[in-house]
């Protein structure tokens, strides 16, 4: 019951500001795996571009922003220092593109579990949002 209440409060908080997050999810991975990835859509109603500069999660020791490029059937993955969200626009973290890398998972992830992630933007805004383990 408490978890649902926290989840609802987090959703209300996340919708009350100028940055909204939708479809936040963590990819379920085998229990032996120490890394997973995360996806979401970050929508901004600010009149100028903002940058996501850092993220922290409560289920991994490290959270990094990465990108994937597939060219000629070959996948390249690399870390990026920030992610730009255009003014009055959105940036999507999705499969085959930008994503969070959750490194050194504290314990195995279970499908349907709701975790949280804190996002830090370059305009000083910080947001804690719920993120579900699902495919």
């Amino acid at each position: 019951m408490n978890k649902i209440l926290i989840f609802l409060i987090m959703i209300i908080i996340s919708y009350s500001s100028s940055i909204n997050i939708v479809n936040a999810k963590i990819r379920p991975v085998p229990p032996i795996s120490k890394v997973s990835s995360g996806f979401m859509k970050i929508i901004s109603s600010y009149n100028k571009d903002i940058r996501l500069i850092k993220a922290k999660s409560n289920f991994s020791k490290i959270t990094e922003i990465h990108n994937v490029k597939i060219k000629n059937g070959i996948m390249d993955m690399f870390q990026v220092p920030f992610l730009t969200i255009p003014a009055n626009g959105f940036t999507e973290l999705k499969a085959g593109s930008y994503h969070f890398m959750f490194i050194d998972l504290i314990k195995p992830l279970k499908v349907k579990e709701i975790k949280s992630i804190k996002l830090y933007f370059d305009n000083g805004v910080k947001k804690i949002i719920p993120i579900e383990v699902k495919r």
Binding site: R27, V29, P30, P31, I32, S33, K34, V35, S36, S37, I62, E64, H66, V68, I70, G73, I74, M75, D76, M77, F78, Q79, A95, G96, H99, M101, I103, D104, R135
Partner: protein, 194 residues
Amino acid sequence: MMNKYIKYFLLSIWALALIFLVIIVGYVLMDKYKQDDISWTLNSNKGEVSLSDFKDKVVLIYFGFTHCPDICPTSLYLMSDAYKKLTKKEQSQVQLVFISVDPKRDTPKILYEYSKYFNKNIIGLTGNKDLLDNITQKYNAFYRFVPTPKSTLKYTVSHTTKIYIIDKVGKLQLSLDPHKQDVEYLIESIKSLI
């Protein structure tokens, strides 16, 4: 007398032409044999496994690594979803294989634990660099270690993202891009080879 020399000369020309032809045909056949050779023997947590162990089965192969956050799980989920939608009889004629090109981090034991999460039919395999280089070359696949000094991961692996499908007689029939094909297409591809 002169005629005799001409005769020998012509015979020599024919002999040379024949030798040349044999060399060309041999070279072409050898090249074709090399192209057709997609065999391998790699290590699982239960010992060596070879492609030839799966005669009379359709084999799906994916090259990747367990620290791959995106395309590898996507591909393994896709292979697993397709497998689950087959009948029991069809499933008995299919083998799913995950080959890690990152043996430094992915031991056969880790690969066993990792692969079975997606589907119990997936065999996780790996080998040393020479073996992996040889096998990926046979499949015209690619992998490369990329240092990521700023990331905690230290390095990542760029690699080909295709699912290779081998028919029951051990011939590579097609390769699919998991980001572009859906599960139905994969199922149809498997069924067409059963």
